[in-house]
């Protein structure tokens, strides 16, 4: 967050493409300015009840008009505590974001509007649901014109989803290196030949790639664009909706079947749960993040005591399972997303600031408690990260850290050590004594408990550097 005085320097780093308006920081509050060029659209959307319907349906983020003048309208949207990016979503979440975009485009068409862009960044997850956050993404529909955000929808949504279906969730991470969607030629070339037999994939991807290839040298814009009726556009949207709704990613759907809940017996589970509840309450934590929190099992033991709970895991299957549970239970505090601690999401886009890195977002989020349960042995032994380094990482965004240390005798640690073979001795430092020493310069130990009936120690640490 910038702290200069002029408004221009407060403009949100991702807000420069669309001339309709921009987001800016007013102190700690994020507001949206509407430029005069967009007044006709904005007024029609507001007065016709278009915004109101979408907001009541919880499909669009609610906003209030804070200021109306001749040269600017300022809106204050409901704050979203933590923004997740498309490459941090599980397949199911990604699907929901795609379906929401189509739903909104179809509704817009029926009211004489269109979505003028279909970027995946227009959607995020808030209160347990996908929500559209770009209030100024609408424009007037002009009879007979094709949907100009169509290609964007394909490269931001359909493409990544279909690639993940055929090649796994790693394909979603390609969105990280392609901020404006995966190039259509690349999507087409990566899909198996049999996808040409699907009428939806043939037309929306392979044919599209061919047409784009054919016309990309039309520098003088001489080619005539044929008109297409509103009904024809609705057909495209509906068929994409039906197709995406049925998409599945095997990697994720199989996850719930083989997952053995935890490497604990009941006594240890309960002991750990009681300690965590006690400690979270002792620091009156309202915002908690559980890093490596799997499907949210432990997070849910404290969910009644907090306002917001972020749960990350490296495995999108676990994230998807968590997301499925929160939908079934109608939970609004839980926000699951994918995160690889050894390789946290970097800042991407122009100037590396358009989409924030995970660490920047966590620093701004200021969680009251960070939990890292049964994670340190992965960081240290799988990632070869020294204790001092992981301490520095957690210290960046934690005031209180609940960290669980599995001792050398723990079965998971043993198996990680055995796999080191002749280098096993190199990891002799993996002991709780050296862990405490490594964390000493960043954290002080507030509580330390040996978890009953297990080979694990639970620590409550407090950041010295904050």
């Amino acid at each position: 967050m910038p702290n200069d005085v002029s408004e221009a320097s407060h403009v949100h780093e991702a807000s420069f493409r669309d001339p309709s308006g921009y987001m800016f920081w007013d102190g700690d509050v994020l507001r949206r300015a509407v430029n005069p060029i967009y007044f006709p659209q904005y007024k029609k959307l507001q007065d016709s009840g278009f915004f109101e319907t979408l907001i009541k349906k919880e499909l669009l983020i609610p906003h209030e008009e804070t200021l109306v003048s001749d040269d600017k309208i300022v809106l204050t949207p409901e704050p979203i505590p933590f923004i997740t990016h498309p490459y941090e979503w599980s397949f199911e979440q990604y699907k929901h974001a795609a379906l929401l975009t189509l739903q909104i485009q179809k509704y817009a068409l029926s009211k004489g509007f269109i979505l003028k862009d279909a970027s995946a960044y227009n959607v995020t997850f808030h209160k347990g649901k996908a929500v559209f956050i770009d209030t100024l993404s609408f424009d007037f529909y002009e009879e007979g014109t094709p949907w100009r955000a169509y290609k964007q929808f394909i490269t931001h949504f359909l493409g990544p989803l279909v690639l993940a279906k055929f090649h796994g969730m790693d394909m979603i991470k390609m969105m990280q290196s392609h901020i404006d969607g995966i190039p259509i030629q690349l999507i087409a070339s990566l899909l198996p030949g049999k996808t040409k037999l699907s009428s939806v994939l043939y037309t929306n991807i392979h044919l599209l790639a061919k047409m784009e290839q054919k016309h990309h040298t039309d520098y003088k814009a001489e080619t005539k664009i044929s008109k297409i009726s509103k009904k024809a556009q609705e057909n495209i949207i509906t068929s994409l909706f039906e197709y995406i709704k049925k998409l599945k990613c095997e990697e994720e759907t199989e996850w719930g079947n083989y997952y053995q809940k935890i490497n604990y017996n009941d006594t240890a589970f309960k002991a750990k749960k009681d300690l965590i509840q006690d400690w979270v309450n002792s620091v009156t934590a309202k915002k908690v993040i559980d890093i490596g929190g799997n499907d949210g099992t432990f997070g849910r033991t404290i969910i009644d005591d907090v306002d917001e709970l972020l749960v990350t895991d490296i495995d999108s299957g676990a994230v998807a399972y968590n997301y499925q549970q929160l939908q079934q239970n109608g939970e609004t505090k839980m926000l699951p997303f994918v995160c690889d601690v050894l390789q946290p999401v970097p800042g991407i886009g122009f100037n590396n600031t358009e989409r924030d890195s995970l660490i920047d977002r966590l620093v701004n989020y200021k969680p009251d408690v960070v939990m890292a349960l049964a994670l340190i042995h992965h960081i240290t032994l799988s990632g070869n990260v020294p204790f001092e380094k992981s301490a520095a990482f957690f210290a960046k965004f934690s005031t209180h850290l609940i960290i669980e240390f599995p001792k050398r005798e723990d079965s998971w640690v043993e198996s990680l050590l055995v796999r080191k073979r002749e280098f096993k001795e190199h990891f002799d430092f993996y002991r709780w004594e050296s862990f405490e020493k490594g964390y000493e310069s960043y954290f002080k130990i507030v509580k330390k408990e040996f978890i009953a009936d297990s080979n694990r120690i639970l620590y409550l640490l407090e950041n010295r550097t904050k």
Binding site: D18, L99, K116, E142, K210, E212, I225, S226, N235, Q327
Partner: protein
């Protein structure tokens, strides 16, 4: 709605993509039509099993938003 100016484009919609939509729409139309016909035949023969899914319908109902 042509009395209003549209917002200038700030990204390339892709000329090929604009042209392709006519063909994509035609294919989608045929697909949806044939699915609809199959659905009617199946339901006439009593072969339809109602499948529940967790997804909302694509259509947003104005009425119950009020």
């Amino acid at each position: 709605m042509s009395e209003f100016l549209m917002i200038p484009l700030y990204f390339d919609p892709g000329l090929g993509a604009m042209i392709a939509q006519a063909v994509v729409a035609a294919a989608a139309g045929i697909l949806l039509f044939s699915k609809n016909v199959m659905y009617k035949i199946k339901s006439f023969l009593g072969l339809i099993k109602e499948e529940e899914d967790q997804y909302d319908s694509i259509d947003i109902d104005d009425e119950d938003a009020k």
